[in-house]
């Protein structure tokens, strides 16, 4: 067993990799910081403008009433008014500290390519492959890095930035820190999508990104064809409507585990 997995050796290898990738991790933290800072600045600005707009509308309405003019009501400007109210309500909530969109989300998805694109490369992977750690320790280090360590680091950093942001006057929506929503709404879908990249990195020897994208395109087209084949089958659709949500979740979980499993199977069997 010591030859297969030794926790102290795994820890040493993981620590080594973390130091090796620290520049990429710093870039990710920088992007997170920018993303949140811009969001906080934009939201605060929007909030201020909306407060001004509501105050002005109220003043004009009062003046119009005093002049005997028909005031602006929901009936004559319904869409604008509703949209403004909605925006105002949203803005009042403030910035969600886990604003995982845009560049940040993209980085999360391609994390395996950023870190492990060199795996199986005849020259770039030689030191890595020859380092005294088992294939399982190396694989688990990569998995921990992409699925647990870097995401947790980024989440913690996001919280810190939001906390500091609030101290300097930004509107932060702390109630968004709902662990269940966060886990199901962001973490699982992101890591699930990332599992595709993780699989591609360990499955293909070269041109990993291109081959992964091509495989996914073929997979999606196959799924579309498969679903359209059953389109006219009402019974199937009724069943799908009942189970679609849980089935989709189950499929996502299953696919994620299968992709990790395939990568795990392939890694020790690939020559360099």
């Amino acid at each position: 067993m010591k030859n297969t997995f030794d926790i102290s050796r795994f820890g040493k290898f993981f620590a080594m990799e973390f130091r090796l990738f620290r520049n990429i991790i710093l870039i990710l933290l920088g992007v997170t910081f920018l993303d949140l800072t811009i969001s906080m600045a934009t939201f605060s600005n929007t909030y201020g403008m909306l407060v001004d707009a509501q105050t002005t509308t109220a003043d004009i309405t009062t003046e119009m009433e005093m002049d005997g003019t028909e005031p602006i009501t929901l009936s004559n400007l319904p869409n604008l008014s509703r949209a403004t109210d909605h925006a105002f309500e949203m803005a009042k909530l403030g910035v969600n500290p886990f604003r995982f969109g845009g560049a940040f989300g993209f980085f999360m998805l391609i994390l395996p390519f950023l870190f492990y694109n060199f795996v199986y490369h005849p020259t770039k992977s030689l030191t890595y492959s020859m380092l005294p750690a088992s294939w399982l320790e190396k694989f688990m280090s990569a998995w921990t890095m992409c699925v647990i360590a870097v995401p947790i680091l980024l989440f913690a950093f996001s919280l810190l930035v939001a906390f500091v942001g609030e101290l300097v006057g930004a509107q932060i929506s702390w109630h968004a820190l709902n662990l269940k929503d966060f886990f199901n709404g962001f973490y699982v879908p992101t890591i699930g999508a990332q599992a595709v990249a993780f699989w591609g990195v360990f499955w293909f020897r070269n041109k990993k990104a291109q081959k992964t994208i091509l495989t996914m395109v073929i997979f999606v087209i196959a799924m579309i064809f498969l679903l359209s084949y059953y389109r006219d089958n009402l019974y199937f659709l009724e069943k799908m409507a009942d189970i679609s949500r849980s089935a989709a979740m189950l499929f996502a979980y299953l696919l994620m585990v299968v992709l990790w499993g395939l990568a795990l199977i392939k890694y020790p069997r690939t020559q360099i």
Binding site: K2, N3, D6, R9, K12, M16, R19, L20, P122, T123, K124, L126, T127, S129, M130, L131, P132, A133, S134, W135, E137, P268, Q271, I272
Partner: protein, 277 residues
Amino acid sequence: MIKIQDLNFHYKASQPIYSGLNMELHRGNIYGLLGENGVGKTTLLKLISGLLFPTTGHCSTFDFEAKKRYPEMLEKIYFIPEVYTLPKIKMSEYVNLYASFYPKFDYQKLNEYVDVFGLSQTKKLSEFSHGQQKKWLIAFGLATNTELLLMDEPTNGLDIPSKSLFRQLLVEAMNDQKTVIISTHQVRDLENLIDPIIILEHNQVLLNNSIDEISQKLKFVLNEKSSDVTLYAEPAVGGVWCVEPNTDGIESKVNIELLFNAAILNKELFKKLFIQN
């Protein structure tokens, strides 16, 4: 220490690199691995280190199945490749990252090697010239104190003084427990250093013998002209260098370049002389 049994290997099924290769390598030697381009020298180093897997047959290193790449095996091996990519970090950082994986790593020796090779500690490794990068890998490899050091064309890219330093450092670092396998075309750089010599030919081994064994069976003499028994002849100042069967027990210095050329020209004879006997 390294045992290769009935090993077959190919990249393409139609072009086998090794067919039924058998070989044993022992501790305390600096093996010279010679062969023409594409004959499989680097492949053999990669099979020994577990980076490539035999198609059939076995390759065991330190009694471990090499392809399993067990940590206990890997901590006894350091591989200096011919082509490499070093990270954009300084050497101190490189040492911090990787040295602790090698239980017998000698930090003091590393500093000595770095000084001897005249490497700058302030520059990033990626900013070094090709020769400097190779010097760094040699210095680090020697400092790991591993029992098996695999070197693929170690003198390529080294300047003349560095080649001499390399030889000195390697001899100093050797002991009975260590084995070095050097794959090279630059036999003159390593003359007086490598012993035994392995000559590879497509699919097979032509020779895997010590210098003593070679000189007992072959003689390297400067004659006026070649004769019927000459296996290989090369014109030289004052005559012709000849490689001939040593039927009269003459002691002569083995010239590796002549030996290699003679082996390539007389494959069957060499196999009969060195492998089958």
